[in-house]
């Protein structure tokens, strides 16, 4: 089963029934988790480890909007190609540069409040892109457009990770 949705009995789509996903995840985990097999033989313990690992990976992928979109696109035969396709619209890049400058300033001042503001802006930007992504994948089936949106979101995730580092430096 290469399809993470199938594992949880869900139909591949960007829109997610989070409650159904969580329920399916827990149902399956309660059957395959190593805690159920602490007294079993090596063979069952190994099978349990493999299954739990796979279920965790699938769950993690589907819960994260960017990873979920990437997975849906892969199932459609579309490669997001984040590493190779670095072309971004100029206005997006301008906006990124501004965010980065703000982050640099906040890092130098070790100011958690301005870091918090930058993060809030970033989260709002992500939510807006995710809404567009949902429309592109589930409604208009514009997969190459969706791949572009995923690349933007991956860009923002990198910035998010840098904000985390800045917080740690500020403490």
């Amino acid at each position: 089963m290469r399809n993470h949705f199938e594992l949880f009995g869900l139909t591949p789509a960007f829109a997610l029934d989070a409650v159904a996903l969580e329920r399916a995840y827990r149902d399956i985990q309660s059957r395959v988790h190593p805690d159920r097999f602490a007294n079993s033989g090596d063979a069952e313990r190994r099978a349990s480890l493999q299954w739990t690992t796979r279920v965790n990976e699938a769950y993690r992928t589907l819960k994260n909007p960017v990873q979920r979109a990437k997975h849906v696109l892969e199932l459609q035969g579309v490669d997001v190609a984040f590493e190779t396709n670095t072309a971004m619209p100029p206005d997006f890049l301008m906006q990124q540069m501004e965010l980065r400058e703000a982050l640099e300033a906040a890092t130098q001042d070790k100011n958690p409040d301005s870091l918090g503001r930058i993060r809030n802006d970033l989260v709002a930007e992500k939510r807006a892109l995710e809404a567009q992504l949902g429309k592109a994948i589930d409604e208009s089936k514009d997969y190459s457009g969706a791949a572009g949106l995923v690349r933007k979101l991956m860009f923002l995730d990198k910035l998010d990770a840098e904000i985390d580092l800045a917080y740690e430096a500020a403490e």
Binding site: L7, F8, G9, A20, R23, A24, R26, D27, I28, Q29, S30, R31, V32, H33, P34, D35, A38, N39, S40, G41, D42, A43, E44, R46, A47, S48, L49, W51, T52, T53, N56, E57, Y59, R60, D164, Y167, E168, E171
Partner: protein
């Protein structure tokens, strides 16, 4: 939530006998053992009714070891041979440990993990910890009147792979079947959650003798899910003692101290700290070996001032865990306080101010971890029927990665990933005709490898000659339910493989464990063969039972011929279990394991299909 589950008549548990399983809190300062009896978790006390075992081991010239109170009583007299707070040294090298110079031991800088020269020879922290675990095992076996089928041992959530492996090795060395390494705050959450039928998002603030953990869990019916964990494995109550100790030395203007005097004053410092929990001022008096008399009084205001940086140091990990979980203080429904050091009023105050709510202190902070571990051991031993038990989803505390060009660490499995977890990454050669590639496995959050903890190095050899960049080497990281890592590497085109259980560079090889076991038997008057026979019988018996119930439940998945292969292997093992050849039992156990391989996989698939089918019907 069923902590005090009492079976209704006619709804009794399955007919098999309850297995004896314990939870062990192997603490920096004190250790405990607990078990579940009649549905209730309880700490097992020693013959004198004392629940705590001081984690102190004193080695004697004749090779014996004193553990607990007797060792504690002699610590000032014999500081070099009396090991306290050994947990701080688990999986650690000489350069990893803070204040090493103030410890009175004769350290030996061994590769990976330091060792200590004692009157009974050179001892590794694993051996010292095993002495403590052995005493707890004996206490449990005496009190439960039978041999243990398994134990859950707790570790700080923030322990890295080296520290976890060392703990598991100590368990093996003490003759325990380690069912699981369980994170201390998670154990506390189990005890608290079941006891209070708690639902929602809770933070567990666990400040022990030598370690600090902060875990955030989502509790709901039958599920304990760790959302994020953070901490500092080098921060605990000991550090507060150290601050008071320094204050005494400064106030009394003492010259450099003899090891005996240092140990005496550290003890006085700890007593003063504990006294200040209930009083405004603590007297500190001591007569030193040079005849000098120390007579001071420490008030709580001064104590707060000299330890203020320690208290605020715990809040960094708290903020980090909240960020990692994408949560704010307002999302947290309660903060459970764990560990003796949380008794200090300044800690209670700081936590209360940060979370803007009173911390929860309704469970004994010294016992809650052992009680939770006992409850989990009861589940793992199979003593609870389905529906009475719960699902525990824990995470790894620190990212696992690999060194890439330029000394940078590339993260393969990020921190706070739910375990078990696996992730693979592809690497390639950078020189034409390169025939070998070496890998350096690291753990930590920093970008530079030199700032991370080195876990293991291994090499993949025999790569066929190819142009640079043509080889495709897949490196797979697998973390099991104990949080322990195994790494394998495989070159695609040739199928050349190399794998490493991330152990040898710092931990003990199996041969070391065997040697230590033999050494310990010489002193414990136990027979190696009797022990091996007992262990293999327990394992074989367990497999027989598991196979029988598997055949009963899912025998239909097998064809006639497959079934008879399993039946034969089962019959062979049962026959040998009655005899006394432990090697033959081991062989037959392995054979039955092999024979059930594909049956096990099919059973697991069937379980998942049933989970899906059940839901589809339910949601119609």
């Amino acid at each position: 939530m069923a902590l005090l589950q009492i079976s209704e008549p006619g709804m009794s548990s399955p007919p098999h006998e309850q297995r004896l399983a314990v939870g062990i809190d192997l603490g920096t300062t004190n250790s405990l053992v607990a078990t579940v009896r009649g549905g209730m978790a309880a700490v097992l006390s020693d013959a004198l009714g004392r629940p705590l075992l001081p984690s102190i081991v004193r080695y004697l010239p004749d090779g014996r070891a004193e553990v607990g109170y007797p060792a504690q009583a002699r610590q000032s007299e014999d500081p070099k041979n009396t090991i306290v707070s050994v947990k701080r040294f688990m999986g650690r090298g000489v350069k990893d440990v803070a204040h090493l110079e103030s410890a009175p031991y004769d350290f030996v800088d061994a590769p990976g993990m330091l060792q200590i020269r004692t009157a009974a020879g050179v001892k590794s922290p694993v051996e010292v910890s095993a002495e403590i675990l052995r005493v707890l095992r004996e206490r449990a076996e005496l009190s439960l009147q039978g041999s243990l089928s398994g134990a859950v041992i707790t570790v700080p959530a923030y322990f890295d792979d080296a520290q976890r492996q060392a703990t598991k090795d100590a368990g093996r060395l003490a003759g325990l079947n380690v069912l699981r390494l369980l994170n201390e705050p998670t154990a506390a959450a189990i005890a608290y959650g079941l006891d209070n039928a708690a639902e929602g998002i809770y933070a567990i603030y666990d400040l022990g003798g030598g370690t600090f953990d902060l875990s955030i869990l989502k509790l709901s019916r039958g599920v304990f899910e760790v959302v994020a964990t953070s901490g500092d494995s080098m921060l605990g109550g000991d550090d507060f003692d150290q601050r008071v100790f320094c204050w005494i030395v400064e106030q009394a203007k003492l010259a450099p101290l003899a090891p005996k005097d240092a140990r005496l004053l550290l003890t006085r410092a700890r007593e003063a700290k504990e006294y200040l929990t209930y009083h405004g001022e603590a007297p500190i008096t001591a007569r030193l070996s040079c005849g000098e008399f120390v007579d001071l009084a420490l008030d709580s205001e001064t104590f707060c001032r000299i330890t203020q940086t320690l208290v605020s140091k715990t809040l960094g990990p708290v903020r980090k865990a909240l960020r990692d979980g994408g949560l704010s203080v307002a999302d947290i429904k309660g903060v459970v306080m764990v560990g003796g050091a949380t008794r200090m009023p300044q800690v209670q105050r700081a936590v209360g101010e940060f979370f803007r709510r009173d911390p929860l202190n309704n469970l004994d902070p010294d016992k809650v971890v052992a009680l939770g571990a006992a409850m989990q051991a009861d589940v793992l031993a199979g003593n609870k029927s389905q529906g009475e038990d719960w699902l525990l989803l824990d995470v790894i505390p620190l990212s696992l990665g690999i060194e890439t060009m330029g000394g940078l660490a590339e993260k393969i499995i990020p921190r706070n990933s739910t375990i078990p977890a696996a992730r693979a990454q592809e690497f390639t050669t950078f020189k034409d005709g390169q025939s070998a590639m070496s890998f350096h496995v690291v753990q930590g959050e920093r970008e530079l490898v030199s700032d991370c903890r080195s876990l293991a190095r291994f090499e993949l050899r025999g790569i066929p000659p190819m142009a640079a960049g043509a080889a495709r080497i897949l490196v797979t990281f697998q973390v099991d339910a104990d949080g322990l890592l195994a790494v394998s590497a495989k070159e695609h085109s040739s199928g050349i493989e190399a794998s490493v259980a991330v152990k040898p560079s710092y931990g003990l090889a199996d041969a070391d464990i065997e040697r230590m076991l033999r050494d310990s038997f010489q002193h414990a008057r136990e027979d190696v063969h009797a022990r091996a026979l007992a262990e293999h019988r327990v394992e074989g018996q367990r497999l027989v039972e598991a196979t029988r119930s598997a055949l009963q439940a899912d025998g239909a998945l097998l064809e006639g011929k497959e079934r008879s292969v399993i039946d034969d292997a089962l019959a062979e093992l049962e026959k040998l279990l009655a005899a006394t050849d432990h090697r033959a039992i081991k062989r037959a156990t392995d054979a039955l394991n092999r024979a059930t391989e594909s049956f096990a996989a099919r059973r697991m698939d069937a379980g998942i299909r049933r989970a899906l089918a059940g839901r589809q019907i339910g949601s119609l």
